[in-house]
Symmetry: C2
Subunit: 147 residues, 2 copies
């Protein structure tokens, strides 16, 4: 029977390795993203826009689980790098639509080389257990997303 105090050991935590792994893998993105001049959270936004351009801030936020307090300054930074435009919607003036600029669209082809670079860090993992692991993490996100 585990004691309460055992559960307080770092090694027994589930959250800590998750927190560490998240930071480490974001770290792995740093070098390849530096060539594009963007950060990992900015890259996430760009990926969303490459998939579907013109989304509103809150729509991006829903996908990334981020609020305007985080996104507004981040989007302003992307705008100052001329990768996106922030356009007040005409149908609903509360909304701000995020549109890729030509430069923002062009960046996609460079970005396509990044995922395989990240995979290199994980080449000690076989494909199967990686796919399984990904689905487990996704399951965890689902679990934590419905309270």
């Amino acid at each position: 029977m585990a004691k309460d105090s055992d559960l307080l050991l770092l090694e027994n935590q589930i959250c800590f390795p998750l927190y560490a792994a998240s930071r480490m893998i974001i770290q792995a993105y740093r070098e390849p993203l530096e060539e594009l001049g963007i950060t990992y959270p900015q890259y996430l936004v760009m990926m969303i826009l490459w998939e579907k351009d013109g989304l509103a801030v809150n729509e991006i936020g829903k996908k990334l689980f981020l609020d305007s307090g985080t996104l507004t300054p981040l989007l302003k930074r992307l705008e100052s790098h001329n990768l996106i435009k922030r356009v007040r919607s005409e149908e609903d003036e509360r909304k701000v639509e995020i549109q890729l600029t030509f430069q923002g669209k062009s960046m996609k082809s460079k970005a396509e080389k990044i995922p395989s670079k990240i995979m290199e860090c994980l080449n000690s993992w076989d494909q199967k257990s990686l796919v399984n692991f990904k689905s487990e993490v996704n399951k965890l996100v689902e679990t934590l997303n419905q309270p």
Copy 2:
């Protein structure tokens, strides 16, 4: 055969769910930790000290994969809350030893109730797959920690 552009879809990323899960589970800690008046990274430091008091800043940093740029201000906050003392080492004056105060030690008993509260968020997971998942995440940390 997957195209490069497919790999740029958010849903195909391994890092994103990891990043999201990490933030969500830290979020789950927020409420219980609020009762103790500390944040999740501060809680990690306290856990380390409850296990072994008097560690130097860099020793804490090695365990958490954090540098002095992050830890110094965090530790100053813990000190201002009277949970720790920062003491310049006498044997090696470069080092600062972090010692729990009486209040810091006392907090442990309250903190012992936290892990089970977090587990409640995960009660849809059976014990076995949770243990397995934890070891997978740990394996990932190991992988990413040796380049």
